[in-house]
């Protein structure tokens, strides 16, 4: 259509095809456009909608309702109280100099989110760039991409636990460093520490960054890179002026994956942090263990709100619809 249009607007307006087209949303509804009845589309979307309703919307609604219920040491009663939320934010707005538990927990979680996001972005972008621009043949690209997914052939928990013999006090790393005489005593910060948590999270979630960035990158017409080179752009200029702007949607999608997963994570932080590091997910898990469902639900709703706000913020940076 664009090609057959005339060059200038004034000429295009004189073209018969253009004027013959009905204006948008103007009396076109009555004209059947296909033999398929109108409800078939809804029928096709129904199974997914049902799954969403049953396994996502309903539990979420239930959580929201329960977050206003009352509970004691031995009972949970349907009610409408806001005490759960005031308990979540207990001491947060009293103006004291120390941070309340919830804010401190969120801050600790956000710290991991920031570190992990930064590292997965850097590693993910580099890996995707290598796969896309330095690997020349498609079979090789597919093969190397499969290599990236190998860690996902084992369970999440096993992958985490595997770090323990490596990083433990008498683990491979410490033994080797001591054997080489580089250190006298085992490094304590290797395991059950912030370092271990960040390491495991980056290891677990880098692929979530690689995939969408790689996907965006593969859509870049290679002629654009050549055109940039032709215009005198250095590799760095091409990267910052062409590649990064064009893969922004991929970066945002990857970032959403990583940020939401890490914000809600309690397993990795629990295992790799030796159950010593606070996280929002961990708080909720503990409350559930004590059957304090209403306050756990309130915490979950607050966490959901934080995550949704983050996603909203990231989506404002880029038009994600272009990518879908």
């Amino acid at each position: 259509m664009t090609v057959t249009n005339d060059i200038t607007a004034s000429e295009a307006s004189g073209s018969p095809e253009v004027s013959a087209l009905p204006a948008k949303g103007q009396g076109v509804r009555k004209v059947p456009t296909s033999w398929t009845p109108w409800w078939v589309g809804y029928l096709q979307a129904a199974p997914m909608a049902l799954v969403f309703l049953l396994f996502f919307i309903l539990p979420l609604a239930a959580t929201f309702v329960v977050s206003f219920w009352n509970y004691t040491e031995y009972s949970i009663e349907p009610a409408f109280v806001t005490t759960n939320y005031s308990d979540v934010f207990y001491g947060c707005f009293s103006g004291g100099s120390a941070l309340c538990t919830t804010f401190a927990t969120y801050l600790s979680t956000l710290k991991f989110v920031a570190i992990v996001w930064l590292l997965t972005l850097q590693i993910g972008f580099t890996v995707a760039y290598f796969l896309c621009f330095h690997v020349k043949t498609l079979p090789m690209q597919i093969a190397l991409f499969m290599v990236c997914t190998i860690p996902f052939w084992t369970s999440n928990v096993i992958r985490m636990i595997s770090w323990i013999p490596l990083l433990g006090r008498y683990g491979l790393v410490n033994e080797t460093l001591q054997g080489l005489g580089l250190i006298d005593a085992p490094l304590e910060w290797l395991l059950y520490s912030d370092f271990a948590v960040a390491l495991a999270l980056v290891h677990l979630y880098t692929l979530f960054m690689v995939v969408p960035i790689f996907n965006s990158m593969m859509r870049i017409d290679k002629a654009l890179i050549e055109a940039a080179y032709d215009a005198g752009a250095s590799s760095w200029q091409t990267l910052t002026n062409i590649v990064i702007p064009l893969v922004k949607p991929g970066i945002v999608i990857g970032s959403i994956f990583v940020v939401t997963i890490v914000t809600g994570d309690y397993l990795t932080i629990g295992i790799m942090g030796g159950q010593q590091i606070a996280s929002v997910g961990k708080v909720i898990q503990t409350q559930i263990n004590f059957l304090q469902f209403p306050i756990a639900a309130a915490n979950a709703i607050v966490l959901l709100a934080v995550v949704l706000l983050t996603i909203w913020g990231m989506l404002r940076l880029v038009d994600i619809r272009k990518e879908l």
Partner: protein, 331 residues
């Protein structure tokens, strides 16, 4: 119009991809301010040749000179060349204006100046009204003009065009063809234009370079090439020629120089042939013939001439041509 035209010279240039030789010892001199078309079928090495001149392909052997400089190892921007890509390769995330200003930005020219120069260039290609649009919201012809403006904004000495009209529909192609020629005249620099369409090459070129199999078959003005094809390949590729074998050698006769006589006419240079097809083409009528020795011939006759003594399929006619219209072919 600013112009820093310079001669372009290829000296014994070769491009090999492993065992395959894409361009085989090509030598060519394009004087400054020439519209040069590299013409040939796909895989003949014309695009590889262009890309070597552009600096997008390493030169396996030989030299490319622009002016007096050997540019083999220079990046495109330092060569003074600019390339217009086949599908224009406009940056989809940048506005028309930013696309045109891109090379200036890369060269570190300040924002105000580069946008002003971009606007000026867009004015020259009548696209100033679209400066703020994204390329996706332009038609094919408009995109081409933007691509042209983007290539010309750096004041190149040679503009390289890789099948620039192939993405357009036939009507627009003819219009944009005329525009390309006009811009080449206005800027006074050399355009090197790769195409597989002999019609396009004829219409545009001051200098046609017919290529086949990595080699140059013939260089000349469109008229020279059309009237005096040197080789069988050129005669066939350029179209409108009959190839007649005579012993070991062969010669070409233009289809519009073939004369038909009534069967009973007495022509010493003519020989009998059977009409195998008649096609009405409007201005001309194509008559396909088969001589008794098996040679297939095509005669294009003006309508009025055909009407004087019409023939139909199955008729036997005398077919002949003037001795002047024979062009001996090399191979």
């Amino acid at each position: 119009m600013p112009s820093n035209a310079a001669d372009l010279e290829l000296a014994d240039v070769t491009k090999a991809y492993g065992e395959t030789v894409a361009v085989d010892h090509v030598s060519l001199k394009v004087p400054a301010g020439t519209y040069c078309c590299l013409l040939g079928p796909s895989g003949c090495g014309k695009t590889s040749t262009l890309r070597m001149v552009a600096g997008h392909e390493f030169i396996s052997d030989g030299d490319v000179l622009i002016g007096n400089t050997v540019v083999n190892d220079l990046p495109p921007a330092k060569r003074g060349t600019a390339m217009m890509f086949q599908n224009y390769a406009l940056f989809p995330h940048l506005s028309v204006q930013e696309n045109v200003a891109f090379s200036l930005k890369m060269a570190g020219i300040g924002k105000a100046e580069r946008l002003e120069r971009a606007d000026e260039m867009l004015g020259m290609v009548d696209m100033d009204a679209y400066a703020k649009r994204l390329p996706a919201r332009l038609s094919g012809g408009q995109q081409q003009r933007v691509a042209l403006a983007r290539a010309l904004v750096t004041n190149p000495t040679v503009l390289l065009l890789d099948e620039p009209l192939s993405a357009l529909d036939p009507f627009l192609r003819i219009r944009m063809r005329a525009e390309l020629k006009r811009y080449q005249r206005e800027f006074g620099i050399s355009f090197v234009h790769v195409t597989h369409s002999q019609e396009e090459a004829m219409a545009l070129a001051d200098m046609v370079v017919v290529m086949n199999d990595g080699r140059i078959e013939q260089v000349g003005s469109p008229r020279e090439v059309y009237n005096h094809p040197k080789t069988r390949f050129v005669a066939q590729f350029i179209g409108g020629h009959n190839i007649v074998h005579e012993g070991a050698s062969a010669y070409a006769v233009r289809a519009d120089r073939i004369r038909l006589f009534a069967a009973q006419a007495d022509g010493t240079t003519a020989s009998p042939a059977t009409v195998s097809d008649v096609e009405y083409q409007g201005m001309t009528i194509h008559v396909a013939l088969k001589r008794q020795d098996g040679t297939a011939l095509l005669a294009t006759l003006p309508e009025h001439e055909f009407d004087r003594s019409p023939v139909s399929v199955g008729d036997t006619v005398q077919v002949g041509w003037n001795a002047d219209d024979r062009h001996e072919l090399a191979a």
